[in-house]
Symmetry: D2
Subunit: 496 residues, 4 copies
């Protein structure tokens, strides 16, 4: 049932630049041990807004006022900064979530916005989930058969129903029970009346970090950039397969799952995470810059200007320019006043596409051989339009350099990807793509080059047991996508 | 958990006139077999708005678009008349609900607005409930213990969870299962993908009627006035303990409950129902007028003017004037532009009370002996203020005549009543009340007189087996209010 | 220029009952000498809401914060009761205005909402005007020619521009200058930084009364009912052609115009004013009841039930029933939850018409000979629909009795009337109207009967010099409607 | 009078980064000869949004529907992209305006949002003004004395009143009359029913360019970047002192003013204009990059990293890095989800300041000697906070390099500047500023260096007759700021 408590948030998303990217679905954040914890969560979610712009939610707990919740469509800064709303979220313990809607759900509903809450006989619990449960359809069928009533279309709701049905007598134990039934990728932040809880799936596909505030306050966050905004100290990453239960200034570490080799999402380095976050002890900015350096080594070309496709291509372009010695310049200017979508737009706005967001710096481009550095090519629609704008402005040559390998497979672990057929690299060779885009040259970084740039190893990818999840490039899925296979998705064959 | 998806609808309800009335909690309406069924439901709910002004909801089903739902705070006419909203509710089958918030729930939440929906393995179902479940607390505890997750604070949600856990293979049978577990008063309208269902509890405390449209369309409604607005023909009342399952132009009648003597709420005649509705073959207006006639016989007084307290006292005042021969006149004028509450009112508005809604027709009142006819006295706060206004305007005498017996006991069957201690008649004798109100005389209709007026019998009330539920007057509760007794409510003792 | 700062308030007004009435355009209210004067104005405007439901505005003055203004579409109670808005209107001096949009202006604009404000070299002034300026077009042309820039399409704006151009050195004197140029009907409430000012045109077509609060507070109001709500004492009516300048607890009376015989609007008695207001020392309710008495004498008929068309026909119906001895009963029930219009309604709502607001009390009507008492017949569209509903309910006969003479001429003095061709009585005889409406009999009160009922004289109308403006009935316009004649309106000829 | 038709848009502006910049007040745009001209204006205003984010307005003219106007607070993209609003602005001729509120006006009012409209005897006209009228106070006093009623607190409204009072028989001639009375800086775009008009003041302080669409369509815009977005061809700049009257595909050029040496605002090059605009035949990006080059020559320093303060310092930082050979890197990351202000923010949000928008890329900064390149220092508050963030992140040294000379004087020509006392450079020497900011070195580009970078001359500034208006740096005001002098502002003395 689609409960249209709000007008459909996005009649359509024609924002061509962002639409032609992969999208992280979520960011999670939780804090305890501070007055007005919800305010800290709001700031943390603001810093994680790049992980999900559609909607956000916060749940807090206060001994007198109980659990309170607020969920809103739109940016954190437009909702969760208002005193009148934040006053309704009292307490020293709170968690929150920002989300990007998945391709599957048409017509967003506030019911689908996390955190999800359940009242159990021993008290309430709220959860916020980043990732994707690959056996959610089967779990949902089973739970409905046994009498559970689902309120949303979200895969994440399975977790709270599994918890409700667990026979364990305390909530963290129920959560262990529940998550052992769940397959796929999950970084979960949860709360009870007294505890802040964080868990990562056994492969550690999605990130989750622990931070510390003064006194006994602790923080859980998808990325370190959200620790900076509230002045929290970065303690460490939650480990793959680890559950931390935080209460009274103590952090208890549990290991509910069988040990496995970790498979962190390599695309977090390429695009999802913010450049000022630290992953694996290393700045994401520096990794991206290094990708540019590798790319300049792997695919050099004679040219006059290295120009980033703003803003995500910028660090790699800086690295490319530095390594190649070709001058760096802002050949494309981004309009800072663009949000993500329009409500009920005019026909004309609908047809504007990229031009609403990007303009070419014609005087700089004219007559030059230009290297455009972008983070990835998904459908290729935006790349074509950018190329046209650059040529219209009088560029002599256009060379694309892409800071990731060809994206040829969909992600089933919490990233919104088009169907395989829509991915340019799934149906074309590199040369066909070059022709399709109509550029003078097109080069992607190699998978080994990417592994080198992220610091995995000097040799690159360990093909026997890859150090990262790179299914979107390699088609090798570390967890079988059960629901999708049931729906007809074909795994890579030995021949491919 | 209070999910504040909307600003608290009613920071407080200081609308003194209405606040000093008993309030029906709900109206229900359903229709099938017509194009755009939701539009019919909207009209029906508009006609039932007097049964619940806080919020309303509609669920519809369309073979292609599935179940859709919209729930809103505020009047039906302000929400469910807009084309843009109604377009989201397609289909030939729809049900709806208007609600008045109960005293217990502070801070209304859209989650509490019905209809409630559940997805079962054999398909979805939606229910709308008028009444109150007297063992809801116990049921909720049991359901939570077994893993159900409640989404609202409403007693009615128990029904859908009981249905979800039933082992029956079709939805009407699951509904029978569920309602056999439920105690109290319920008139329920429900729907599946193909069926429109109506049920009344074995005592038939709350009303529910069946209507017919052209072709194969059928209607279920709390009152007949909502049939008139859509041009439906009144067929008959659903009988106490009856379930009707309507599909394909057929009305199947079932009897899921053990037979019992019916106990229709007598206050529906006095105040809740609209005067143009028909109950038991008789116009509510005519019944009220007849109450006035009885009252004039039981409690005559010499006076110059019979004046209704608008608008609910009007029919009884007309009857009183007619029987007594004393001229009828509008001594109190009601401002038509008053809604129920104010958002964030100024101090001054907060203190205005009755004067915002009522003004005395001073020229008519001056020097006269005035009989004021009102439907009931609950707390007595408004009656005192009206008396003061009448005296300020120069009335020579003020005589109150009340069209119901003293309201001395709370209702637990779906009516919002103050705690017993707040009911004037629970703590004072009639003479004490007269003194408290400061009027020259105060008379209530007798219980027998009321029974005569509603046409129960010439003799009045059958005290051995009363023909109606009159617990609010008599303290004799036809269903034991189990949850309330657990919370400390004391039943009437033999001594009382 | 139509500055659409708000969505068009009324895409169309299909509310059939109200649409087939004449509409007063405005109510005005002002107060000084009290803390938070704007709160008093809000209450006064709420009591005057029946004079204009489209929009309202308040201007206040505070020595430190200067002049402040707020103008809003919608009911007073939905806007001017909020603390957050009222805090922006500080000071001890304030005026306000409610308006009904005139037929001519399509697409309401907030710019047209009064009070209007002008900054002069000696300080600011605000004005609120009830009535209509019959030479506004000519004045506007002249003012534009001389360099004035109009901000609204309102005739009332001429007044403030004439004041701006006056060479007088104080504002009341400028106002005298301005109003001497103006023709037509005007009751104006105005304010400067220190003075509250009230004026009525020489004929006194529109009402304006003076009230007194405790201490030195004074009130100006369109009607006395608005004095009651704030507890002000009624002092007297402002006289035709009088200007009062109130300051420091003193009321100075001026006479800026040449004396003329007064021509108060007789329709204020019939329909516009609230029944609890006092006009000419007499309750409007009592006058209307007396119209019913006269009507019963002039046009008796054998019947079983006297039934008002609610709510405006009620007092006359009470009088008719009393005089005729035929029982009074509520055969038509009004839905209390109807506002005036709908935003973007569904097709179905659009076609509902009268049934959204009125329902027949079928049990009461069936088999009866019914006398329907209504205040007036304008287009006749609603009367026809009501007759149909009554016959559908099984009435044996339907007799219309109308509490005013046939409305055959448009009003040009501040009342929204259809073009002459649309007035039923302009094109049909009484018998033709009866046939058109399809009723058993149709009778209007005579002009003399109406004059008797309002207490003008036992003989009725003084045809040589009528005691009232009755142009809508008689076609005798006390002020020549210059703009309308220029636009082609034909005055009554000697032959008519 | 402050007409609070909307809640005060900006209870306060604590957005520390932007608050410590100078702000352009306005952008103007107009187009004719295209269907749905208002849509083109919306796109143009979106591209000019950096010139004013508070509010925007559009006026269009259609032969049948007349002049229509819409004015809104907030971003163009949130208002003027909606089909339902744009449909209310039909026609082939339209102009628009975006505005930044001036420091002086507290409590923004929709009345102050341009374009302004006036109805004259020969038809209506609308104007949109970028700049500031330095004798507006005197003009307003005179106009009020003569009977004009002002509707806004804007200086620009004088122009339309002067036009209304002109005795000329056509509107362009009235506009010439009006503008000859006006002193200061003005780039005006205006429209009548048939003509699109553009004017620049004799000194040409603010920019205005002419563009051409296919067929007979013409465009006027503050900057060329807004031509790009609608695919218009850049024709030429409107010349200082020139008026163009565009109609029927013809551009007529007039010279209403006495010739003077031009004084274009040099700060447009430094900060106001978008980097992809062309001024004087040269890309603004290239000029800024060149400023960085000059700065590296004038003020070299040994360091490890050149880091821009995003985003305005970026081009100069690229130039500095290139010239100095020191690596360029993004040491500060900007949160893309920040708007300008918050409505009713929590205490915590209020105190966050720069951290809501900027975060340090700690891994890149740690241990490095960092050169921070920013465009200007106004109050210095943000510079101090950024320095602290950089040091907290472990930078070894911090060197500020500023892409403009010290800002020591307020602008009176349409830029929002703090009072002189608040400008850091007005009260401190360069060394005092360095100490105040607490950095290792602080250097501003020289005035001559800036003139070289903008391409004025190899020698730099012509001190006898400067090629630009540089009053904010030099204190030499090309037009006497009459109103400000009356209010007590002291011009630079010979001694200074």
């Amino acid at each position: 049932m689609s409960d249209r408590q709000m007008p459909p948030a996005h009649p359509f998303d024609f924002d061509a630049v962002d639409a032609d990217k992969l999208h992280e679905e979520c960011g999670v954040f939780g804090v305890n041990g501070v007055t007005d914890a919800a305010n800290f969560v709001a700031l943390g979610l603001h810093a994680l807004q790049h992980r999900g712009q559609e909607a956000g939610g916060i749940v807090s707990y206060h001994p007198e006022h109980g659990f309170n919740s607020a969920r809103r469509f739109g940016y954190v800064r437009d909702n969760f900064t208002r005193a009148s709303l934040m006053e309704t979220l009292p307490g020293e313990l709170a968690i929150g979530h920002v989300r990007y809607s998945t391709a599957g759900s048409k017509g967003a509903a506030i019911r689908d916005v996390q955190p999800f809450f359940g009242e159990f006989s021993m008290g309430g619990a709220a959860i916020a989930h980043n990732g994707n449960i690959t056996n959610a359809d089967a779990l949902r069928r089973e739970l409905i058969e046994r009498g559970s009533i689902f309120q949303s279309s979200s895969d994440s709701e399975c977790i709270i129903h599994l918890m409700a049905r667990s026979l364990q007598r305390d909530i963290p134990a129920r959560m262990e029970d529940a998550l052992r039934r769940v397959e796929g990728a999950f970084s979960v932040v949860a709360m009870t009346r007294t505890k802040l809880i964080g868990v990562r799936d056994p492969l550690g596909v999605r990130p989750l970090v622990l931070g510390k505030l003064a006194d006994d306050g602790y923080v859980l966050s998808s990325e370190t950039c959200a620790l900076d905004i509230i002045g929290a100290e970065f303690v460490r990453e939650i480990e793959p397969g680890e559950m931390v239960v935080i209460s009274g200034g103590k952090v208890e570490s549990r290991r509910p799952f069988r040990a496995q080799a970790s498979k962190f999402c390599i695309f977090e380095h390429v695009y999802f995470s913010r450049p000022d976050s630290i992953i694996g002890g290393r700045s994401v900015y520096e990794t991206r810059r290094q990708i540019g350096v590798e790319l300049a080594r792997e695919a050099p070309v004679e040219a006059d200007l290295v120009c980033p496709v703003p803003d995500s291509g910028t660090p790699a372009a800086i690295g490319f320019a530095h390594e190649s010695g070709i001058p760096y310049g802002m050949g494309i200017i981004r309009n800072q006043y663009m949000g993500r979508t329009f409500i009920e737009p005019t026909e004309q706005i609908r047809n504007m596409g990229v031009r609403l967001k990007l303009n070419v710096n014609r005087a700089l481009i004219r007559g030059k051989r230009v290297i455009l550095v972008d983070d990835s090519v998904v459908r290729g629609t935006t790349s074509r339009k950018i190329k046209e704008m650059i040529l219209d402005a009088g560029a002599a040559e256009v060379h694309f350099r892409i800071a990731s390998p060809p994206t040829a497979w969909p992600c089933f672990y919490g990233v919104d990807t088009p169907q395989r057929e829509k991915l340019l690299a799934a149906t074309m060779s590199e040369e066909e793509m070059r022709e399709h885009l109509g550029v003078d040259s097109l080069k992607f970084i190699s998978l080994d080059g990417l592994y080198r740039a992220v610091g995995a190893s000097e040799e690159g990818r360990n093909n026997k047991c890859p150090q990262y999840c790179d299914a979107c490039f390699s088609g090798e899925y570390p967890v079988e996508p059960a629901d999708m296979i049931e729906k007809g998705f074909k795994l890579k064959t030995a021949a491919e």
